[in-house]
């Protein structure tokens, strides 16, 4: 557990001591890099000490104590930083954040919420005391994951009114595509020993990263950085860590895959399709976003071929765009597992003994227990969660 020492910095040749007038953070709080920690008063000048690293701070002296230059006044547990992904900065502390949540959304935000179906409560706000601004809503509108249905209102459950002949039922033949989907779904459930394990992910790191780099990303690549590229990369990362999930049963043989073609479920008017994005391990984020966008377009235009749908080793499905909080997806045979992503909702969570509001998303991994045991499935999902909560892990492959 690496502990960083927080020392009183040198202040000039004639200054050898001072008073730590006040702490700006609470003992045990998780601090961010460069966050002001304490106010130091000396004969000549008052200055601030800042955190050299993020982590959980433990005080070694009280406010008001006399200190010498170089004295260790606190330690920061830098491991604890990983658990606390930085939130996009609201202007003030918890109380004003609470009041921002009570404050009604502004007129433009209400209009956008009604038009896009995005709930302002699920978006981090950059306005005063964390209020959601029009700009925040516009950014969220552009960033909707790139596996879209035509609109949330076109959910399959909308019942068309009966024809005016007065019949209480109408009868249509299943399209071949729908018949095939139906057959495969049933087969998947009958063949595999299927069950689902769950976890949750704090989306704030990804949200912050997207907010920070969106403009540069668009400028360079001509399209937006969505969420799916993060999910895909997290899955590739987890597949590497838990190769048992990247395998299939064929008769009585276990086939291990050494490539990373990931299927992305796309909902279309004709039904559910899962075009495969090839070699997600070699594609960059932009490459993944582009491939998903192209595949979704082909699916919607009815231009998907059989080849597009074959050869995937894993599938990602996102019910969150329709508002699903949690679900148990069905595996896409002959694959052995499927990751379900859901709506990102702001929830109160406990963090270092405090209640904080974070944008949380439930993760569901349905898997074939004939091949993958519980420990592997849970570990896989934890790896996905960790990579989403701390995208640096993708870079460092840890």
């Amino acid at each position: 557990m690496p502990l960083l020492e927080v020392k009183i910095p040198p202040m000039g040749e004639s200054i050898s001591s001072g008073v730590l007038a006040k702490w700006h953070v609470a003992n045990g709080a998780v601090v961010k890099k460069d966050q002001p920690l304490f106010e130091l008063e000396t004969d000549k000048i008052t200055s601030e000490g800042t955190a050299e690293s993020a982590g959980k701070i433990t005080f070694k002296i009280e406010a008001g104590a006399e200190v010498k230059i170089g004295q260790v006044v606190a330690t920061i547990d830098t491991d604890a930083a990983a658990a606390a992904a930085p939130t996009p900065p609201p202007v003030a502390t918890a109380t004003p954040e609470a009041s921002a949540k009570e404050a009604p959304p502004s007129p433009a935000v209400r209009r956008l919420a009604a038009e896009t179906g995005i709930d302002p409560a699920t978006i981090p706000g950059t306005g005063k005391a964390g209020r959601v601004t029009k700009g925040d809503m516009l950014a969220a509108t552009e960033a909707q994951p790139a596996a879209p249905a035509d609109s949330p209102a076109a959910a399959p459950s909308v019942v068309k009114p009966a024809p005016s002949t007065g019949e209480r039922q109408t009868r249509k033949k299943m399209t071949p595509l729908r018949a095939r989907i139906a057959q495969r779904l049933v087969a998947a459930q009958q063949e595999a020993a299927m069950l689902t394990t769950f976890n949750e992910a704090d989306m704030s790191a990804v949200i912050a990263l997207r907010a920070k780099y969106q403009d540069d990303f668009v400028k360079k690549n001509g399209l937006k950085l969505g969420f799916m590229s993060f999910f895909a990369k997290a899955v590739v990362h987890a597949l590497r860590e838990v190769p048992a999930v990247n395998a299939q049963l064929d008769g009585d043989s276990i086939v291990e895959n050494h490539y990373y073609d990931i299927g992305v479920a796309v909902s279309t008017d004709r039904g559910l399709m899962v075009p495969v994005i090839r070699d997600c391990d070699t594609l960059g984020m932009a490459g993944i976003e582009k491939s998903i966008a192209e595949a979704a377009k082909r699916a919607r235009d009815g231009k998907i071929t059989l080849a597009d749908l074959e050869g995937g080793v894993f599938t990602i499905t996102n019910g969150g765009i329709f508002g699903s909080m949690l679900s148990t997806p069905i595996i896409n045979p002959p694959q052995s597992a499927i990751l379900g992503l859901h709506a990102i909702n702001e929830r109160p969570v406990a963090l270092a003994g405090q209640v904080v509001i974070r944008p949380m998303m439930y993760l569901a991994l349905s898997y074939d227990h004939r091949l993958i045991d519980g420990r592997e499935a849970v570990t896989f999902l934890v790896k996905v969660k960790q990579a989403i909560e701390d995208p640096a892990r993708l870079l460092l492959s840890i």
Partner: protein
């Protein structure tokens, strides 16, 4: 030796508000001012007397030039300058009296006299010694004097004198086309002076956008003021102000010259060097982000530190410092200080102008709306000017606004409020504005940002 929690030097808007807030927070406060009456420059010789004169002279201008339109036959109108000045004095007296009453009710010890530092926590006023753990310097500013055009109080004057002439000068030349010069120039022009404003920069009120300034200049000229820009004043001799415009030599005959080229921070006689309080390169008291000087326990606010030299900014500084001293969370948003020129029509601004935003490389969307298309403006006979809102092209966040029109100073307030909450032009446009009011012109400008103004194409 009298001991306090807080000593405030200077009882202008910064100083007295700081003292009042500190008293609210339970501190024992001493408030020192050289002047027998409280209120500083603002109440005694600045904002307030000039506004009284502006309103009196606006009524005169209405009576002379517009009454007939309204079917009012007033015959010949005489000006009793003494009575006009008496009214101005009465307004001032009422306000300084009010401040004194509030100070008394709050049990603030008021000391009259010139203050100087004996040590970082001891102040001398004459023979009296006062000590406090915290001291606030709120000594404000004084008119800048040009070295070749020194004030003599009679012919070459500052705004201090120009609010109290005992007769209407025949020819008044105003050096400086900023708010103070234009306001006082307007007053005397309406009262009958032949007024010429001589400005060094290529435009008057140079911090405003070009479109606002062009229309404003034209309106002032229609009112009879002569505006000379790009002219560098060189001296005053033989009853005429001399100036240069490039190679061209100019001469403006004048009975009085009002020099209004700015104000300088005032720290004379405080003995700041005695306690290590440093000044910056513009002779303002050097302070950190919390308005603390280089002497521990000493703070400085208002015109004497950096930032817009405006009374409301000084007031906010004063409140924040009182709150910091009392261990609370003070706060000033120095980015959202509105500014107003109290001519007729008024000019008001908040935040970034179009030119300011472009200079920062921001992509902006602009919405404008003419008062000539506003129902109330037409009914009231105030059709001049327009509203202008500057928003971020991508997020629609309001970056700033400028308004030229009757009561622009009151109208700008709602834009300031929206900006405090990070509001967008659409937020302002979707907020109901009563009809018929001039504020609808602000709403329409916000609509115009996305090309959706209802009452204009």
């Amino acid at each position: 030796m009298d001991s306090f929690d807080l000593i405030v030097i200077g009882a202008g808007p910064g100083g007295y508000v700081c003292a009042f807030r500190a008293a609210q927070l339970g501190l024992a406060v001493a408030l020192i001012d050289k002047r027998a009456t409280l209120g500083g420059t603002c109440l005694n010789i600045g904002c307030i007397p000039s506004k009284a004169l502006l309103h009196s002279s606006e009524h005169l201008a209405f009576a002379q030039h517009h009454a007939a339109e309204h079917g009012l036959k007033l015959g010949s109108i005489e000006i009793d300058l003494a009575a006009l000045m008496q009214r101005k004095d009465a307004v001032v007296a009422k306000l300084v009296g009010g401040v004194a009453q509030l100070a008394k009710a709050r049990k603030i010890t008021v000391v009259t006299g010139a203050a100087s530092f004996d040590s970082a926590n001891t102040i001398l006023v004459g023979e009296q010694k006062l000590t406090a753990k915290n001291i606030v310097i709120a000594t404000g500013s004084a008119p800048v004097e040009l070295p070749f055009l020194k004030f003599d109080g009679k012919t070459v004057v500052s705004s201090d004198d120009a609010i109290a002439f005992d007769s209407v000068p025949k020819k008044l030349v105003v050096v400086g086309g900023g708010a103070i010069g234009l306001e006082l120039g307007s007053v005397w022009s309406r009262l009958g002076s032949d007024v010429t404003v001589v400005e060094f920069l290529p435009k008057i009120i140079a911090t405003y956008d070009d479109d606002i300034v062009r229309t404003f200049t034209r309106l002032l000229q229609k009112q009879g003021l002569k505006i000379e820009t790009g002219a560098k004043v060189t001296g005053f001799a033989a009853g005429a102000l001399t100036a240069e415009r490039g190679a061209e030599k100019l001469s403006f005959p004048a009975d009085k010259v009002l020099v209004a080229v700015g104000r300088r921070p005032f720290t004379d006689g405080l003995a700041l060097d005695r306690v290590g309080i440093e000044l910056d390169e513009k002779k303002r008291v050097k302070v950190d982000a919390r308005l603390r000087t280089t002497a521990p326990g000493v703070w400085a606010i208002g015109d004497v530190v950096a930032g817009p030299m405006l009374a409301h900014k000084a007031e906010e500084d004063g409140v924040a410092v009182a709150e910091w001293i009392a261990g609370k969370a003070g706060h000033v948003n120095w980015d959202l200080v509105p500014a107003i020129v109290y001519t007729d029509p008024e000019v008001a601004s908040i935040g970034l102008g179009e030119e300011g935003a472009k200079a920062k490389g921001l992509a902006v969307a602009i919405g404008k709306f003419n008062f000539a298309a506003n129902a109330r403006a037409i009914a009231a006979g105030n059709p001049d000017g327009f509203t202008k809102i500057i928003a971020d092209a991508k997020t629609d966040k309001i970056l700033g606004a400028q308004i030229l029109g009757h009561n622009a100073g009151e109208l700008i307030s709602e834009v300031v409020t929206h900006m405090e909450y990070g509001g967008s032009a659409e937020d302002l446009a979707r907020t109901i504005h009563a009809h018929p009011t001039m504020t609808e012109a602000v709403k329409e400008a916000a609509l115009a940002v996305s090309k959706r103004a209802i009452h204009a194409l």
